[in-house]
Symmetry: C2
Subunit: 285 residues, 2 copies
């Protein structure tokens, strides 16, 4: 049976570091501040915000939530981003996606200050992640995957690493982050022929397809490290990942569960990014 890569344990260890860091900053009279911006009332966005606020507050970050009506105009939305960009108490801004219908993500992403863009919406941060520059912000979810690999000492260098999924939120940036760590990276997706053949080549297999239990036993090679980024709900309404955990667990060398895997780390990574943003803005090293 695979070793369980416990996201809660990773998050707890990271939290300890961050609490100590925030304490040091507070002694200098500085408190990191985060604003989460949500337009509309999607339950998944609300649920993410609740857990992010709880986590970040427990680390000592001042959290603000800006809730906007579903029919907010683009002009009003941009004004709010502008205000947050110049607000000295706010170090990190996170805009919940998907955005409602009247708001163009393509416009918002250019507006959010790159230095406060803690979830990598702005193209400048996208470009930094792609080119391997460390002074930008990666999206929180792929960054959480890297935290888990690092915490458990799983080296990616030179390893055949297969990523299923090519979204701008997970698959593509994650592939580039693994490449920067010298993995040999393959990106698979819905148009990949013989998906199982490709995924079986992965010494490290990362599922970010957004499809419940789609990675089955016959798609995983013996002894692979399996990281499950999916958050889905099965027929009975129970949360599950992209990996069919019960069938894959016996053959993997290690695996992240859902819940309690990658998802358990993302809000702590968000806190880490807010603290990094503050230090960047204040010139603290």
């Amino acid at each position: 049976m695979a070793k369980i890569l416990d996201g809660k344990e990773v998050a707890a260890a990271l939290k300890d570091e961050l609490v100590a860091e925030v304490d040091r900053l507070r002694k200098q009279g500085i408190t990191p501040g985060l604003c989460l911006v949500m337009a509309g009332s999607r339950p998944d966005s609300q649920s993410y915000i609740n857990s992010a606020v709880k986590r970040c507050s427990s680390i000592g970050i001042d959290c603000r939530v800006k809730k906007l009506p579903e029919d907010v105009t683009q002009g009003d939305f941009l004004k709010i981003i502008d205000d947050l960009n110049t607000d000295p108490k706010i170090n990190g801004i996170m805009v919940m996606r998907p955005l409602p219908q009247y708001i163009s993500e393509n416009t918002i992403k250019y507006k959010i200050s790159p230095e406060k863009d803690v979830d990598c919406l702005n193209p400048i941060n996208v470009s930094k992640v792609i080119s391997g520059d460390d002074d930008g912000f990666a999206p929180c979810t792929p960054a959480a995957v890297i935290e888990i690999l690092d915490y458990y000492g799983i080296k990616v260098e030179g390893k055949r690493t297969v990523v299923i999924g090519r979204s701008m939120v997970v698959g593509r940036p994650l592939a580039m982050m693994l490449l920067a760590r010298n993995a040999t990276v393959t990106i698979c997706h819905t148009r990949t022929r013989n998906l199982a053949e490709e995924t079986k080549k992965g010494e490290i297999l990362i599922a970010a397809a957004g499809k419940a239990k789609m990675v089955t036993k016959d798609m995983v090679s013996n002894g692979a490290v399996v990281i499950d980024v999916g958050i889905n709900f099965d027929e009975s309404g129970k949360m599950c990942g992209d990996v069919d955990f019960d069938s894959v667990c016996p053959i993997a060398s290690s695996i992240t569960p859902v819940p309690g895997g990658v998802g358990a780390v993302t809000s702590t990574v968000l806190a880490k990014h807010v603290i990094e943003a503050l230090k960047l803005q204040k010139g603290i090293y």
Copy 2:
């Protein structure tokens, strides 16, 4: 023996289209303009400029070359970029790299107007290439690879495509451009273990490693499409690619030669980008 993918033929066909396009624009009283900026006196940069000016001029583009001393200051360099950004006669700007020692590429890349950035230096264009937005500019070399594949009707969708090399000028953007065309993409590099094992999996194999003749027969599967991006010189000073052409040619289904392959297409792609830039700036569709 492999079919030869003839870069000169691809470039000639593309040139015909562009000449017709420039003629249409001239009838509206508009001439596209390109400025190539070179600091210092690297022979490879000079040679690129000579061929780019010759090619672009023959298509009807007004070409200007801005030569700067090796010891140009950052301030003077930025001033020149600023002037070109606002010069209505210049639609495309290409800065020769590598830059000389006193100039920070990291500063220049943010300065060059994304709308005139015909070789994808600005992070906004990098981000567009990564996310598959068609309204940015890809770097000319990977775009030339795509032109060759398209010209010869080589479909990449669903195919195992292996890219050797992960530079920001070729490997990474090319991998993302192939991904946008639904290829299953693997990126290999100097840290890849068992490189031959990986490259043999490629139905399409693209060498962009910058190492003379490093792709040998034993690294290529029978019937693979082989695209050689390398421009190197062998022991006897003769130009060669990253692929050992003589040994690979008999087993590939098709192959680009060096010279006369990818390199023969890049300056025509540059002309294409300048014309696209003009249309973008003038709102012509």
